[in-house]
């Protein structure tokens, strides 16, 4: 029969064969009228609306057309049918945030075979599925800085918990792994991660989960919620409970969502990259690929309008930059 080890051997053999690409011409002009399709995890999600808006703005700058298509619920299978129709529509590039890093690969492979360039952003696909991954922030960076943020707020002491999205969310899980790793350092010896709870990126579930955390660990010192839905729900629960200000909360959130809670003292500081910039950069990366300026190989460079020049790193990754930390002082300056 076919077992896992057979398959592992086969695929390692084929992986080396697949690494082939034409040479890049860094000086090629950006083609005009490029058709770029953004395929977020979910349409009508404010975060992606902002990001894809940034992408569309970039397309306008370089004379291309960008559109956003996608499912209204974040499931892997529905993204695949969109990829298939994008192939039929002969788009020049697809910019995707993958709900399931693997499930989209067969479809993306077909897209690449049809000459379509693929950029992943926000949430990567398996490397076989795309040319370039535009990473909003280094996973390691994010994971570690969140622990550092919280540690400062609670004086490096006490029980902490994580309120994540779904148990399968790839981003969150990588970050949480780095958080756990960071916590192993000696300066955190008095901090204990007691539980990872999952709010499934649903507002009410996240809310109830926060309740549950405080009910079962009344002596909790802080919560990290590395998801915009989670942190907003947790903030709302805390702001209206006796724990307000006592239990510290940090994580990833948008300034508009959390302004109120920063001002009323529920949250001291949280962080996030600028989603519009993420889409903007992904759009430029797609254009560079489609125009032949880059192929996705390590070390290639391309220009991304107002954001300046970027270099492709290992495994085809482009890093957007460090996330911004928001607090009482600066939160009013942002509007997204």
């Amino acid at each position: 029969g076919t077992t896992k080890s057979d398959v592992a051997q086969q695929s390692s053999a084929s992986a080396t064969a697949a690494a082939s690409s034409a040479a890049a011409d860094p000086n090629a002009p950006v083609k005009q009228g490029l058709k770029i399709a953004f395929l977020p995890k979910q349409v009508n999600n404010p975060y992606f609306t902002i990001a894809d808006g940034g992408g569309a703005a970039a397309a306008k700058e370089f004379g291309g057309e960008a559109k956003e298509v996608g499912p209204s619920e974040a499931s892997a299978s529905s993204q695949v049918s969109y990829i298939n129709t994008l192939i039929q529509q002969k788009q020049d590039a697809i910019v995707i945030s993958a709900n399931d890093p693997n499930a989209v690969v067969p479809a993306l492979t077909r897209a690449r075979a049809a000459g379509i360039k693929v950029v992943s952003y926000d949430s990567d696909t398996a490397p076989a599925g795309r040319h370039v991954f535009v990473n909003q922030a280094g996973a390691e960076d994010l994971g570690r800085t969140e622990v550092q943020l919280l540690a400062e707020q609670i004086g490096h002491k006490g029980k902490i918990a994580v309120l994540s999205a779904t148990p399968n969310a790839t981003n969150q899980n990588t970050w949480i792994d780095f958080m756990k790793d960071e916590l192993k350092k000696p300066e955190y010896k008095d901090m204990e991660l007691v539980k990872v709870a999952y709010g499934n990126d649903e507002d009410q579930k996240s809310f109830t989960e926060t309740q549950g955390l405080l009910r079962s660990y009344p002596d909790l010192a802080g919560i990290i919620s590395p998801t915009t839905v989670g942190i907003a729900a947790a903030a709302r629960y805390l702001s209206d409970s006796p724990y307000k200000g006592k239990v510290k909360l940090t994580g990833l959130g948008t300034p508009n969502q959390l302004k109120k809670f920063v001002k009323d003292g529920t949250i001291e500081a949280f962080e996030l990259w600028n989603p519009a910039d993420l889409g903007y950069l992904a759009s430029y990366a797609a254009a560079a690929l489609a125009s032949g300026q880059i192929t996705g190989a390590e070390g290639e460079k391309f220009k991304a309008g107002k954001l300046g020049e970027y270099t492709i790193g290992a495994k085809g990754e482009v890093l957007l930059g460090k996330p911004t930390v928001f607090n009482k002082e600066n939160v009013d300056k942002f509007d997204f």
Binding site: G1, T2, T3, K4, S5, D6, V7, A8, Q10, S11, V43, N44, K67, V69, G70, P71, S72, E73, S75, A76, S77, V80, S81, Y82, N84, T85, I87, Q88, Q89, K90, D100, P101, N102, A103, V104, V105, P106, A126, T166, P167, N168, A169, T170, N173
Partner: protein, 324 residues
């Protein structure tokens, strides 16, 4: 009269289907070509598979809302066992057994305790999905054998292999439902359980087997799903149950049981698939897509009814199901 109604319904769906296909072929770029048709057919596979048994279950006046969760659990089992190093040929029958067990669990609660299947399967909807998470946690198993993942997306001409599987099983289901004693019994018990029981129909046994079949079909769909997307995860197929139920109802199956045909359901599955595909190709926004799906569902039932209501105007007449 009943037959006429059924025929009229199927006719309506068929007309709609042909109409949409003609419109899409002429008016939507990229619709009428082999590879798109092939995607389109492939995309309906899981729903079609589960709709086959769902049709039988609903005609028997029950419902199985746990199908998508059963699919998820079966995917999770597949992933777990694959990670453990079992050969895939051994895993697949185990998955089917898991599906059968899920179905039997539903069936036993419904037949032995006499609980309403809607309540039971809302419960197992959560239970099976939860077990899937317990089984596979947050892992995604993706290194599945290319021989199988390839087969799941392969096609003869524009007809995917998976669609051929659907066709064969649809044939079997149609024969069972429309030409065997068991099929007759299903219609009878769906329409009036008490009378069917008095006529010696083994009500409990048939219902139990219907749920088992539904579970097996869900796990078969899980195999297609897993290989097609080359990804086994605990959250595979979330939300598919409503799509399946919607297709079955659109196909003219009465939610109160006792009425419906398989060809109608298959055409409805196809209709929904074609509409979705064509609208996405035409760059219609997702919200409009949902709106159209809903409208289609309502309109398909509304159209024949408006005629009937109008006719009733001229001769008032009591109708509706008799007391149960």
């Amino acid at each position: 009269m009943r037959l006429d109604l059924a025929r009229r319904w199927e006719g309506l769906i068929l007309v709609l289907l042909v109409g949409v296909v003609v419109w899409a072929s002429l008016g939507v770029d990229g619709f009428a070509n082999g590879s798109n048709i092939s995607f389109l057919l492939l995309d309906t596979t899981e729903i079609a598979l589960m709709a086959l048994t769902m049709t039988l279950v609903i005609i028997a006046a029950e419902i199985d809302l746990s199908v998508a969760s059963t699919l998820g659990l079966s995917c999770a089992v597949l992933g777990r066992l694959w990670n453990a190093g079992l050969p895939i040929e051994a895993i697949m029958p185990i998955c089917l057994l898991v599906g059968a067990a899920c179905g039997a669990f539903n069936g036993l609660l419904v037949t032995r305790l006499g609980l309403p299947s809607l309540a039971v399967t809302i419960g197992t909807f959560a239970l099976f999905r939860g077990l899937a998470y317990v089984m596979l946690g947050d892992q995604a198993v993706a290194d599945l054998p290319p021989a199988y993942t390839g087969l799941a997306t392969a096609s003869f001409g524009p007809v995917p292999v998976a669609t051929a599987l659907v066709a064969v099983l649809a044939g079997v289901a149609a024969v069972v439902l429309h030409a065997t004693g068991t099929g007759r019994s299903i219609f009878a018990l769906g329409s009036n359980v008490e009378a069917a029981f008095f006529a010696g129909v083994r009500v409990k046994r048939i219902k139990l087997w219907l749920f088992v079949a539904s579970g097996v079909m869900a796990s078969l769909a899980s195999l297609v799903y897993t290989f097609r997307y080359a990804s086994a995860r605990a959250d595979n197929g979330v939300g598919l149950e409503l799509a399946v139920v919607a297709a079955v109802l659109l196909g003219g199956v009465s939610i109160f049981g006792g009425r419906g045909t398989l060809p109608g359901v298959l055409m409805a599955v196809l209709l929904l698939g074609v509409v979705r595909n064509a609208l996405i190709l035409a760059d219609v926004a997702n919200e409009v897509l949902n709106f159209v799906t809903g409208l289609l569902l309502v309109a398909s039932v509304l159209a024949p009814n408006v005629g009937a209501v109008w006719r009733r105007r001229t001769s008032p007449q009591v109708e509706g199901k008799s007391a149960s």
